[in-house]
């Protein structure tokens, strides 16, 4: 079978129950919104291929059940993912506070170099807002993670978020590729040494998945 893409990226959506992970994914994959979403049970996924700087990038996006934080199925998917979207609900203080727990969870379960992004969803519900945009930005600075407020309902920044995360992962992959196929250039050798030091960990962690 001919490959219909240049890159395959695995992304994961995590965050508290009810913050809108499924809605964000539905907006991105079907460009639609449904007010009445049902709880995700276990794990689900959607696929969308995007064009990124002339390359076909296939995104395989895993949607998790919010309550599955800290649990079984999710940890296996953490390890397989290259990018993670951390979602909170701007009308729910607790879901914002829990972002720190989710980050700790990523640190414990995902590979060390996984790309992350924080999304403050439901930003259309301004009258119910409990978390200001500034606090979201502050948290993102603290963890050095990119941040954006989204609205799956109004289709605000959802495309931007996925494209940004995908572009960052692609750039990282290309950098790695370059490092493992060094062009005769000064400094390339140094990069390669770094790469070899890192490899065993990432290979091992992938092995654990099986």
């Amino acid at each position: 079978m001919a490959k219909t893409y240049d890159y395959l990226l695995k992304l994961l959506l995590i965050g508290d129950s009810g913050v809108g992970k499924t809605s964000i994914l539905f907006r991105f994959s079907e460009d639609a919104f449904n007010i009445s979403f049902i709880s995700t049970i276990g794990i689900d996924f959607k696929i969308r291929t995007i064009d990124l700087d002339g390359k076909k990038v296939k995104l395989q996006i895993w949607d998790t059940a919010g309550q599955e934080r800290f649990r079984t199925i999710t940890t296996a998917y953490y390890r397989g993912s290259m990018g993670i979207m951390l979602v909170y609900d701007v009308t729910n203080e607790k879901s914002f506070e829990n972002i720190k727990n989710w980050i700790r969870n990523i640190e414990e379960n995902a590979s060390a170099d996984v790309e992350k992004m924080i999304l403050g969803n439901k930003c259309d519900l301004d009258s119910k807002r409990q978390v200001s945009k500034e606090r979201g930005e502050q948290l993102a600075i603290e963890y050095q993670i990119k941040f954006v407020e989204t609205s799956a309902k109004d289709s605000l920044n959802v495309e931007y978020a996925f494209f940004t995360l995908a572009r960052d992962i692609k750039a990282k992959m290309e950098k790695k590729q370059e490092a493992s196929n060094p062009t005769p250039r000064s400094g390339a050798h140094q990069l390669r040494a770094n790469e070899q030091q890192r490899k065993p960990t990432s290979w091992l962690s992938r092995c654990n998945l099986l």
């Binding site: 009810g18 979403f37 049970i41 800290f70 414990e108």
Partner: protein, 250 residues
């Protein structure tokens, strides 16, 4: 234990307890339990309000409150399992069927049927039936040695990927039944990298509730329940559903 006893035992008013205080962090504290209970109810409500969005019956605040109570008291009296997402879609069809029984009952009823269909006991009956169904489903909801906190949160596991009962069960269904019965489908799934848990967790935890139309669920469940509360034959349904999909594979 009956529903009223469970309710009474687990609904202590912290204000009535002498010598306890709202800031206490002691595990014995009734106040602490009270705050944990509120948190657990919020977790449950999150799912209950999203139950069968197209059905008017479940948009009713009283119905939603009934579901929250049933799930809450079940979770509190089964603290080794607690509340897990999906249980709300087990309670819902049960509650609806019991409600329908009452709604469509003939006007003239014998004393005994009047007693059985007493409106005041709709919630109690839902609890007892849910409890019976959960005897068979419980193992698909547990997460190994991880026990939820009193507020229904699941603590972080330190062990790396301990496969829980549901995943073990699904692997067993694949190896012992699917592979010998339809090797082709099994290897097709394997070649597409589709693991059993991807769909199997949802199938089992919801007892196939999302795989058929809502109208078909009571019939399917009636068939399943006929084998008794341990639900001994659901692996056959899983295998049958997978084999029935084989045309799509081609």
């Amino acid at each position: 234990m009956f529903y009223d006893d469970i309710k009474m035992k687990l609904s202590m008013d912290p204000r009535a307890v002498i010598g306890d205080d709202p800031l206490s962090q002691s595990d014995e504290s009734v106040w602490k339990q009270h705050f944990c209970d509120n948190e657990l109810k919020a977790v449950i409500t999150q799912d209950v309000v999203r139950t069968f969005p197209d059905e008017l019956y479940f948009r009713d605040k009283d119905v939603q409150d009934t579901m929250v109570r049933v799930l809450f008291f079940w979770a509190r009296s089964h603290s080794h399992v607690g509340y897990r997402q999906g249980m709300h879609e087990i309670v819902a069809p049960i509650l609806f069927e019991l409600f329908q029984d009452r709604r469509f009952a003939p006007k003239e009823l014998s004393q005994i049927l009047k007693y059985v269909l007493d409106d005041d006991y709709l919630e109690h009956d839902s609890y007892m039936l849910f409890n019976a169904v959960m005897r068979g489903l419980e193992r698909f909801y547990t997460t190994g040695e991880i026990v939820p906190t009193p507020s229904g949160r699941l603590p972080t596991s330190k062990t790396v990927h301990n496969p829980n009962e549901v995943i073990r069960y699904l692997d067993q269904v694949k190896e012992e039944f699917l592979v010998p019965l339809d090797h082709e489908v099994a290897s097709h799934l394997a070649s597409c990298n589709i693991t059993m848990e991807l769909f199997g967790i949802r199938w089992l935890r919801l007892l196939f509730g999302r795989e058929f139309t809502r109208g078909e669920i009571p019939h399917l469940w009636g068939f399943i329940f006929a084998d008794g509360p341990s639900l001994p034959h659901i692996h056959f349904i899983i295998v049958a559903m997978l084999i029935s999909l084989r045309n799509i594979c081609e």
